[in-house]
Symmetry: C2
Subunit: 137 residues, 2 copies
Amino acid sequence: MELEIIFTIEPIRTGPVELPSREIGSVLEFQGLVREMEEGKALAGLFYEAHGPMARRVLERHFLELHAGYPVVAVLFIHRLGWVPVGEASLFMRVLSSHRAEGLAFLAEAVIRLKQDVPIWKMAAAPGLGNEGASSG
Amino acid sequence: MELEIIFTIEPIRTGPVELPSREIGSVLEFQGLVREMEEGKALAGLFYEAHGPMARRVLERHFLELHAGYPVVAVLFIHRLGWVPVGEASLFMRVLSSHRAEGLAFLAEAVIRLKQDVPIWKMAAAPGLGNEGASSG
């Protein structure tokens, strides 16, 4: 499995899909966006922090375990850190596989595990509290 | 639900995601690509034909049924027709939803139903049979 894990404080930008072989039949891309309403409150965005090296180790372990059951070919995982305004992506995953079934299962399980025990934390920020200044707007 | 269904004989090209609201938390995109090996034979590509108006009606019915269980916000469905070479997409779906769970379920079910009873047919073409000339290469 080709595996790339990226943490970035910039808005997530992705290039075109590069196919490692002529046996890729499924390209799945998922973006998790920051929504305005969370638990009944209007947010301006979320602030993400991570323990980078540990998050990477835990993610690698999860992805290897998932790969044993769902043999996907390539995974690109990008998580944004710092201030993420409403409507922008905090998470991007691209999963290439021969068939869509293993790609869908891998993606679904990966996001569940991400939220379980990977050391990435988010803090809510209400509109007008000034955190917006940390982003490019 | 915003629903757009497109059939095209051109390579599938998609624009950037446009968010209909600040409550979209999940953007899922799926591309189904033509693989080289199918049932043990090497293909140059596949040739797709559809009964366009009927395919659209059947898809709309399926998507509305799925929406009742998985209330996604917007669906873009693009199917390529004619000659599709190996490594290019015959199908593209983009599903926007508040949460990823309904988006993943909608997408997975939609592709299963597409292959069940939507009047779109594919024919295999072995390498060197000349169908490649119909594409832009």
